[in-house]
Point group: C2
Chain length 365, copies 2
């Protein structure tokens, strides 16, 4: 049974029409085809269990109806960092709605060139890249080759590049502003450094809040991690030691990564610092990871699922040649206040700092 594949021509012959007609009917180009003929073709196709051969179609049309998702590392999934998973869920759902499939492209390719070769060799019509890539050569190469690409949650140097991201500057501002409203003035910031766009931007927001509150910028101390590494306990331990060494000790920590924030919350008590009594913590992303910490972490939320969906939309537009008026799409962030933040003890009471109400409208630079 099922000896050889049923082809378009088989359907045509069986229905007594030409291949063209069948192709037209099956691809919706049926404006110019007798309704009766359409019915017949459809019926025959169904009866024969005709299934178009995707590779043949792709060869003929130059389109695969597939989009690629570049993974910096397979562990992206297993860090218990649901950030990635939630964005992915949005991507998959939207892609499916558009009748597109998602091809996972692992950066664990032997080298970036072979990945580049596959991508531009017709594996997919376009790619989504989440997070700054470990293989720094790939992105510029794709952009230069004019291959459709959308950067998700990070900004490429080239402003021209399609991007979906959050307003990280605002996020940083929200976090710092919340703390300063509570009376905190000396802050420790844990972040991926200035190389990573969201690290840089969040820090900028934090500094804007400090300025606004009249807090000297030297009171904001920052420690950077290596974003190429997965979160690990050793680094967080070092960070804790670093915080302890600071004099005067900061009364609050802003940690730009959820997994590390949780580790932090777990480790601080063991060095005698109770959260939030002795030290407050603000985290980012606000997925369940934050909510389920002990104590539940105050966290800056971003609409992860929407980001995934928007990225797909943008990419498909680009693939179809439509250039959006604005290449960079920014989503707003919001603060989820939980139990990891409170006023510092014996510090300046809230309200004495010079600052405008947090709900004030702000302008993006």
């Amino acid at each position: 049974m099922a000896s050889s594949r049923v082809r378009l021509s088989d359907v045509a012959r069986e229905a007594g029409v030409s291949p063209t007609t069948v192709s037209f009917v099956l691809n919706g180009r049926c404006d110019s085809i007798a309704p009766e003929t359409q019915q017949r073709v459809l019926a025959v196709a169904a009866r024969l269990h005709y299934r178009p051969h995707l590779a043949a179609r792709a060869l003929a049309t130059g389109r695969t109806r597939r989009i690629g998702l570049i993974l910096n590392q397979p562990e992206s999934f297993s860090t218990n960092d649901t950030y990635f998973s939630e964005v992915l869920a949005g991507i998959i759902r939207r892609a499916t709605e558009h009748d597109r499939n998602v091809l996972l492209l692992s950066a664990h390719y032997p080298d970036w060139r072979s990945l580049f070769t596959d991508i531009t060799g017709g594996a997919v019509d376009g790619v989504l890249q989440i997070s700054k890539f470990v293989l720094d050569e790939l992105t510029p190469a794709l952009i230069q080759a004019d291959f459709p690409i959308v950067c998700v949650s990070f900004k490429h140097e080239d402003d021209h590049c399609l991007t979906v991201d959050c307003d990280n500057e605002q996020g940083g501002y929200l976090a710092a502003r919340h703390l300063m409203d509570l009376g905190h003035q000396r802050l420790a910031v844990l972040y991926p450094g200035e190389e990573i766009s969201w690290g840089r931007e969040r820090m900028a927001g934090i500094q804007r809040a400090a300025e606004e509150a009249g807090v000297p910028s030297e009171w904001i101390c920052a420690l950077a991690w290596n974003e190429a590494q997965m979160p690990n306990k050793a680094w967080v331990l070092d960070a804790v030691a670093w915080v302890q060494r600071l004099a005067p000790r900061p009364t609050a920590i802003i940690c730009c990564d959820e997994v590390r924030a949780r580790m932090l919350a777990e480790m601080l008590p063991s060095v005698g610092l109770t959260v939030p009594a002795d030290i407050s913590i603000v985290s980012f992303n606000s997925t369940e990871t934050s909510a389920r910490c002990v104590p539940p972490l105050t966290s800056v939320r971003q609409p992860l699922c929407d980001i995934g969906r928007a990225a797909v939309d943008l990419l498909l537009d680009r693939i179809q040649g439509r250039t959006p008026e604005n290449p960079v799409l920014l989503f707003p962030m919001a603060l989820d206040v939980r139990q990891s933040t409170q006023a510092p003890r014996g510090e300046v009471a809230p309200g004495t700092l010079r600052s405008a109400p947090i709900s004030r409208t702000r302008t993006r630079l």
Copy 2:
């Protein structure tokens, strides 16, 4: 620039050889080609930035070098159930090692037929299916079409079907045995019912442990959830109420799902039951989800990443026509004892039950 794609024939012409030669060189069939010619071809290909067109190759060879992963629901990722993510990480890594890509196939297709059409229409060379499918028609259809498929973490009716799974019966046994060794005799079991293979099997293991310990099977009470639904609080609340109504009340709960187990641990205190003082909990999977509960959950672990890897290996073998001697690959489970289990108060002391040491070698039926 980059006007039109560089083709194989371009390389051939430029190198002064035939397309065949180029094809051979580029595909490793170079046993029969002068080393010098090879060098020349390779050099030209590199100079011209030649990149083979994947669709064309797929059309000619009938192979895509892609494997599909059928997702029952995009939410698979975002339930904070790292189970799926960890298996996926294994899959991706192994696939990449074999120079294969993973195509995500969402069950959110309009209907299972269109998914079937894509799959058998040459989108992928074979598929991995994790968890029993919501669309029950797809799997049998693929199997009947003799399309390469590997079932991961569930068993299809057809024993013939390639499967990678854990020894769930053993897992159930380990969980129950641990509790009974502690002195528990009345157990509540939360599971997906007998329809789901791992539910059925774990329950069988639990009952074997009960038998072995001389515990009457009526003392093991089970409540089934609907596996087609994502874990939700309402169900867990009902489950808690159900446990409370049982008389005599069980002293321990075995919950076959990690997310629900965590919810359980969170809700029980609110009805006056302390874990583990009043009631013990054993969970499954033992990912970070279990470890980070309050209290950390005793849990039955399975080698999730290895399962993913093994599934890929099995599928690729099948695709290449190699039929493994044993279609079903079972991984052993192990028990991670944490803080959610302890001896019941005022119950029979450990040791009085008739049972062999847990380390005893056991035979699979």
